[in-house]
């Protein structure tokens, strides 16, 4: 009767957590609407409002609405990643995670299942927004589409990874909201999503340079216009380096998260 033949499979566990993420999302319409409507609203209001008032430095022909289009996409990814990982706080408090932790699978499987679930949702939402790209004069070709989706996946993984790591250390969702306002939103604001690095004062430009999200935004700008050069000169490294930094950040977050989930010295509850 003991089930010695049933070796727990990491992939099955990852799939299980991924599927749960999707099911929960589909069953919660508010989340679906909230994470896409808020950035959309921000995009239309800010983009239109700033249109005649300011011309971002380093920008030649793009309108502000076009300028913050990639930034809005970043915001959609960020919001979806946050909404997805905020459930980690509840899962830990309510006990769902306790039962997952004492299952016979490696903690990296738990982290990856959650990250991939959040990534799927984030990329899905960002792709809905991608439909609007031609409206602001961003031409979408097959090449740029494929590259954009790949880049979105990479960025979403690193954002969900960051969200997971933060959520795991939180006692309450209120704490997560505080971190969101104090860390994640400033990270987004200073990622070149809102204003370019070239026009910022020196000290701020340096803050932007050490912000990993800056390279994600830059990567997204580059692939959206591929094979053309994006109209904003931003003084940042090329696509490969930007993607590399984003991937490295995601990897570090996933491994770090796996480490804290597997830490039994503190009982992680």
């Amino acid at each position: 009767m003991p089930k010695t033949e049933s070796r727990p499979i990491l992939m099955a566990a990852i799939y299980s957590l991924w599927k749960r993420e999707i099911l929960r999302f589909v069953r919660d319409r508010n989340r679906l609407l909230g994470s896409i409507l808020q950035p959309l609203l921000l995009w239309v209001l800010i983009g239109s409002g700033f249109r005649g008032s300011f011309a971002p430095s380093g920008q030649t022909e793009a309108s502000y609405l076009e300028y913050i289009y990639p930034g809005t996409m970043m915001l959609i990814l960020l919001f979806t990643a946050i909404f997805s990982t905020i459930s980690v706080v509840e899962d830990k408090r309510e006990g769902f995670m306790q039962s997952v932790i004492v299952a016979p699978i490696h903690s990296l499987g738990i982290v990856l299942g959650k990250i991939l679930g959040g990534t799927t949702l984030a990329v899905g939402e960002a792709m809905v927004f991608l439909v609007l790209a031609p409206l602001v004069g961003i031409p979408v070709s097959v090449d740029s589409f494929v590259l954009t989706v790949g880049t979105l996946v990479l960025i979403a993984i690193s954002m969900t990874g960051l969200g997971f790591r933060i959520a795991w250390g939180m006692e309450s969702t209120a704490g997560f909201h505080a971190i969101m306002n104090l860390l994640l939103m400033p990270m987004w604001l200073l990622s070149g999503a809102f204003f370019p690095l070239t026009g910022a004062p020196d000290w701020l430009a340096w803050v932007m340079r050490v912000n990993p999200m800056t390279y994600a935004t830059a990567a997204l700008r580059r692939v959206l216009y591929y094979p053309d050069v994006n109209p904003v000169s931003d003084d940042l490294p090329g696509l490969a380096v930007c993607l590399g930094i984003t991937a490295l950040f995601g990897l570090v977050m996933a491994i770090w998260s796996s480490f804290v989930v597997g830490d039994r010295d503190r009982g992680s509850s």
């Binding site: 009767m1 003991p2 049933s6 727990p8 099955a12 299980s16 309510e94 004492v102 299952a103 509850s269």
Partner: protein, 323 residues
Amino acid sequence: MSQPAHVDAHQSSPISVTGLSHDYDDRRALDEISLDVSTGEVYGLLGPNGGGKTTLFKILSTHLKPQTGCVRVFGHDAAREAPAIRARIGVVFQRPSLDPKLSVFENLVHHGLFYGLTGSRLKDGAAEVADRLDLRDRLTDRVETLSGGLQRRVELAKALLPDPGLLIFDEPSTGLDPGARKRLWDDLQALREERGVTVVLTTHFLEEAERCDRIGILAGGRMIAEGAPGDLKRSVGGDVMVIQTRFPEDVSEKLKKEMQLSSEIVDGQVRITAERGGELVSDVYRCVGDLAESLTLGHPTLEDVFVAHSGQRFEIGDEDAEN
């Protein structure tokens, strides 16, 4: 990687703990605990909150790594071989571990996938535990729509799905009405008989502890008594008389002076343990009746066992909350 303990894992007793101590910062939660649980036994860890049973539960369920001492579950060292232990235990937590937005079936499937169950084995297994616990009609219902008692049964079904040899259950009756409580115990008894499952549970309900084959009483991080509930009660000896009074010292002194009866004051109550308490009761009433609010006589209960070993009433420890 060699795992010598794995070889005789099936013969090893479900739980063997020796000299286990655990500290949280500067507070000692467990102090030199030792216990053994044998196959098919229902073993209860009884104690007030703060007594250490939650910490012990976390260590046995591989949630927390043991600090000092040796903990073996089916022969596997809990400090180093958590994955091997996890594959063979089912854990039911005090707090709900189900996803309320998913159906009963989806919750079961989700759990089974973590234990290497797939395809028809997973579906059949889920249907079987659902049948066993009378959840067949509820499989498609979302967990959030179920009553507390039903949710608890789904928790149990989930833990049993991978067919564990040992079930570790934290406070089984918490939040259940008497009917659901009885039902849960009937299920546990039946499971033990049908599947030979060993059950270790924590509880702060005396009546729940009564139903265990053996109990270990934890207070202040120490195992203050261990044995079958009946044996423990008999060890107190004779009958127990409890006098409720506002003047415990006066009562105790008067009993000693006038009747040569020794008594104990425990949290404001005067307690007398005596053979043939029935014959004594009217004399005691005559002696101190005007100082007493009530006088009760009974055979020793588990509470009396607790009092005898800890010098405290059982409820008192309830005040300080556990970490």
